[in-house]
Amino acid sequence: MWSYIIRRFLLTIPVIFVVSSVTFLLMHAIPGGPFSEEKALPPEIIKNLEKKYHLDDPLWKQYIDYMWGFMRFDFGPSITYKTRTVNDILAQQWPPTAILGSISFFFAILVGVVLGVISAVHANTLIDYGCMTVAVIGVSMPNIVIGPLLIWIFALNLKWLPVARWGTPAHVVLPALTLSAPYIARFARFTRAAILEVLNEEYVRTARAKGLSERLTIIRHVLRNALIPVITVAGPAFAGIITGSMVVEQIFAIPGIGKYYVTSVNNRDYPVIMTFTLIFAFCIIMMNLLVDILYAIIDPRIRYT
């Protein structure tokens, strides 16, 4: 068990290495530097700027300098924002993304599982069809559709919620709904399928024959086995919510990491691009690792090599 965990953990190191190199190379391969903002600058001035930010060092040296700093949690200066370091920017921007992401994630699991259970228990009735239809619609509407639609209905017309920005709990509702919608649907469908499968299994029939109440049957036997697909979906859901936050933060003008990512690519703010990509990748990898570990804990059969 422990060797498995350690092995998986060790695998993350080459992944981070590959992610950082590919990002670094791709980033520098993109033409256009960080310095021409509104007007072109004379070449002599650009030379001075490159010297200041060590962009005239050979590429491999820049890479090593950055990775060395990264390991000491020193992410370098921001090239666009002259008075701030990437650490400053990160410290400022991560709370909204983290809050929005976690709320969306847990909300998706909660609502999704509950919906799935209700559907499964009332299988093949109107309730079931209704829930599943809603689920499929949730999966089909991309967040660039759901987001503006929710804004239009609830913020512009009904005026129940604010249009955009961040600050109060009311500001969290619409973006969280937008981010979690496709995953609520997925959790619901998987949970329903898993529960239905288990409900027909032998040992459930045995429990029922023994006279166990319906509720206890469900809770004790069914749910535990139904957890596996939930964990299966949890990994990609987490990754999806993180990357989806880029678009949602843009639509709702939320000052988080996601919104700033596209801007930094356009600005060629190299330290920011590297740091954000690596942090995103790290979160996703950790989550996948957690999912694999949970798998191994819950189902002793799954201890594959």
């Binding site: 499929v136 509407m141 690519v265």
Partner: protein, 304 residues
Amino acid sequence: MPRDSIKYRTWKRFSRNRAALLGLLILVSLAILAIGAPWIAPYHYAEGDVRYNFAPPSREHWLGCDYMGRDIFSRLIYGTRVSLTIAFVSAITSFLIGISYGIVSGYFGGTVDNLMMRFVDIAWGFPTLLLIILMMVFFKSSFARVTPGTFAGTLSAIDRALGGMFFICIGIGLTAWLMIARLARGMTLAVRERDFVEASRACGATGIHIIRKHLLPNIIGPCIVQVTLQIPTFILYEAFLSFIGLGVDPPTPSWGMMINEGYIAMRSYIHVFLAPALALSITILAFNFVGDGLRDALDPRWQR
């Protein structure tokens, strides 16, 4: 079609799933629209008169006009070309790359398999969307000014001819093959040990023969299902890329870009947003239905 073949039974099961049939119907209609766009659409997608910008739906313009005075209905129809092309080309690219990679890895096994799968594991850790964004910026910037006649120049010309779709397909295809590769490799490993393969080898069959006759037919089905299930994601990626401006070149109509234009004008002119939003959602819904239907129909449990 022999009454007992897998294909026939699959189709029968598929057609019993009403949602899947509906999805298939929608997709076929979209394909017709895409192919027949120049004859079906009342206006050309780039044609417009600026004086009618944001015009509400009327008899001349069934869904109204966008910010440049172009007919939204026509642009929606041409937009099917973009979405369907990207969906299929990306799907085919990732399918071909994935299945070849997976089969090679699974067939040779041992160290080769180990290395190849390590590579997949490592590539798996990369947040796909971030990679696509970086790649798109790279493609769009580098290939924008190349000398004609070189390899880069040819690629750039292809891209421009396709209205900017070429690089998106490559970008998406390059990131999506991982799942197929894993699947193909897993199944290759399983099938490889089966008796009939052993028997075949005992008769002296070559590797290629085994792959063709025994592996491929068993693997293709689930891989196709997997790819079909991924298509909605491709369409979403393209829509998202176009939404943030890294997608097709204007004036090529992409639903994602139209949604972006609609979102900007949403407060005053909701019709500009609703039309492409509905089109995109219905298309993805259709693909989801078809994919689910295919997966259920091909479920091995039914084939006992």
